[in-house]
Amino acid sequence: MQTIVLGGSMSLSGDNADLGALYRDSYQLTVDAVNEMGGVEAGDGNTYELELIIRDDETDAANSKSIYQELIDQEGVDFLLGPYSSTVTLPASAVAAQKQRPMVEGGGASPKIFSQGNEWIFGLLPTADKYALSMVDMAAAQSPTPESAGLLVQDDTFSTSAAEGTRDRLDEHGIELVVDETFPSETSDLSTNLGKVRDAEADILIMCAHQKHAVIMAKQMETQQVNVDMAGATVGTLSDKFKEDAGANGDYLYGPTSWDAGASFEDPIFGDTQGFSQAINDAYDYNPDYHNAAGAGVIETYVNAFQNVDELDPTKVRDAVRDGQFSSQYGEITFLDNGAMDISMLVKQWQPDTGKVLVWPEAVQQEQPIYPMPAWSER
């Protein structure tokens, strides 16, 4: 059987190694599942086995860029899998454009990735500016209605984009931004910034950052006695690892997700969403989150494209990705003209008795949000 090679870099060490591992697991699981089913019956009439090449970029954009150049120039890889995080994906997508190879990614969400006129990049995540919108909408619909907000922003590509969207949505709801602080990615102490949120008596707290800082926020909110009605972070608060690290301090915190394991979207490889969730559990012994689902969706996007081209040419595959529309465990996959997907975020909350539950939008909620969060002295 002939082979199609899918290759890319991933954060397997460095700051984002926890989340990078989720993508690696999903890539591998999906490739293995496709091969066990007999491979890909491509539109050119041949059946192909998939081969996966994933190299560790150490959460470093320069490393990632070199890896993609090497994969294309020296190893002849034509079909690229995206890395994790916007900061790494943006330069990697430039390599894809320069070398004219399609890149499908599930880990980069900054609108900058999709505003460069790059015809070779496709992303499965909602753009970063949408990440916190549902959390703000949810808070605005609660009682007491929040009047002020604190915004803490990590100074990376994704988080600054997420903050831009958040500021606009807060403004639309008439919620005053009383603290708006950007902090360096390398900081591991947010005490002073959290103290500002406490002193400003903000009603809600939104952090645009990744998992490491979400854990710091959860821990230092208690030591700084930050009592807000709602607190959430754009990335990381919903993973099992977050809860393990944050412990009881992770209770009541919110986070957005583009995917829910309880959904029932049909899937050509795993049967449906729950089948995918079970497969991740069986293979890796943890509950998948939307990073896993997007990672699997990346491979499935390629499989769908391969099935719809009469030749495995990078340009034809790119066009097939752009024109594709199919149901997967991740949901309906179809791309906008700029390569992004148009998805709204769901909101989940860690609740002490029930664990992580879907609380927003109301039409699909599993539980009412526990709002306001109890003060630290009452826990």
């Binding site: 700051d15 190694a17 690290d245 412990g247």
Partner: protein, 297 residues
């Protein structure tokens, strides 16, 4: 009140910076090496503490006594690591070209970092210390108890080192090697052993402080560089030969950083710290208390 909170936050972390910098200054003064792997000793100490606590108490928050019990373990392990590094690696380039010593210690820092990555992954790890409540309020200023514990611990480590150098025979030997290794050798002092002892002591203090950092922040393989950089700034603030200078320098740096974060923005903390460094080098190159970066008396 906000300013008081920023200063308290700064002093609490500044003591940790100081105890790390004291060791950095000691190696600089005695072994005449700018040890770019000093931050990695902090990281290793943090991991020793983390794994000690995990092996004794398992996952989850532990009592302050259990957390504190891991500090001596970190001190001992890092003393051995530091002594060995000086005796078998760094001694080969001691007294040679400054560039070569920088290259060797930089190489060491990369090797240690990569080994840590392979051994323990990049996951941030922390020793959760159980206090109820986690902080207390002094007239509107919140003081986290774990940070206060780490502050006191770091001060104790620094004072113990100062007392050792000042009042013990071995401490006097270290100071004599710092002042004139040839004369020290003529008096029968084993210079190589004394230098290795100094490296071991400095690493031990860094490792013990790393244990405290693991309790209040995170331990990660890549965390070392920032502590090496801060140590450099503090040593220039306080002067190479001065433990009180390093202590004051650390407290000053912590306060300046937190005041900058509080009154301006967190993004400006490093720029302001290094800006002050440049100003101090121009205005008072000897530092606040020491014998200066050029080694002048």
């Amino acid at each position: 009140m906000a300013v008081a909170q920023f200063v308290v936050n700064g002093l609490l972390v500044g003591a940790l910076f100081a105890s790390i910098a004291v060791g950095f200054a000691l190696i600089w003064g005695v072994v005449e090496i700018i040890n770019l792997a000093h931050g990695e000793m902090v990281m290793l100490g943090g991991y020793v503490s983390y794994w000690t606590v995990r092996s004794v108490a398992g996952e989850g928050a532990v009592s302050p006594v259990v957390a504190l019990a891991s500090v001596p373990v970190a001190l001992v392990v890092l003393f051995v690591v530091g002594y060995g590094l000086q005796r078998f690696v760094v001694s080969r380039v001691t007294g040679t070209d400054l560039f070569l010593t920088l290259l060797v210690t930089f190489g060491l820092s990369i090797v240690i970092q990569q080994l840590a990555l392979q051994a323990w992954s990049a996951d941030p790890r922390t020793v959760a210390v159980q206090f109820t409540p986690q902080s207390f309020d002094v007239g509107g200023v919140f003081v986290p108890k774990t940070k206060l514990l780490a502050f006191v611990g770091a001060i104790v480590l620094t004072v113990l080192l100062w007392a050792f150098l000042r009042y013990t025979r071995r401490g006097r030997a270290i100071r004599s090697v710092a002042q004139n290794p040839d004369a020290a050798a003529l008096l029968g002092i084993d210079v190589e052993h004394t230098r290795a002892l100094t490296f071991g002591l400095s690493s031990a203090i860094a490792g013990g402080t790393g244990a405290f950092i693991g309790m209040i922040l995170f331990v990660q393989p890549q965390m070392g560089l920032i502590y090496t950089l801060k140590s450099f700034v503090i040593v220039v603030f306080g002067g190479i030969g001065s433990v009180p200078g390093a202590l004051l320098g650390g407290l000053l740096l912590g306060s300046v950083e937190e005041l900058t974060a509080g009154l301006v923005s967190s993004q400006w903390t490093l720029a302001v710290s290094f800006g002050l460094l440049i100003v101090l080098l121009v205005v008072r190159p000897k530092g606040l208390f020491g014998r200066g970066v050029e080694g002048e008396p």
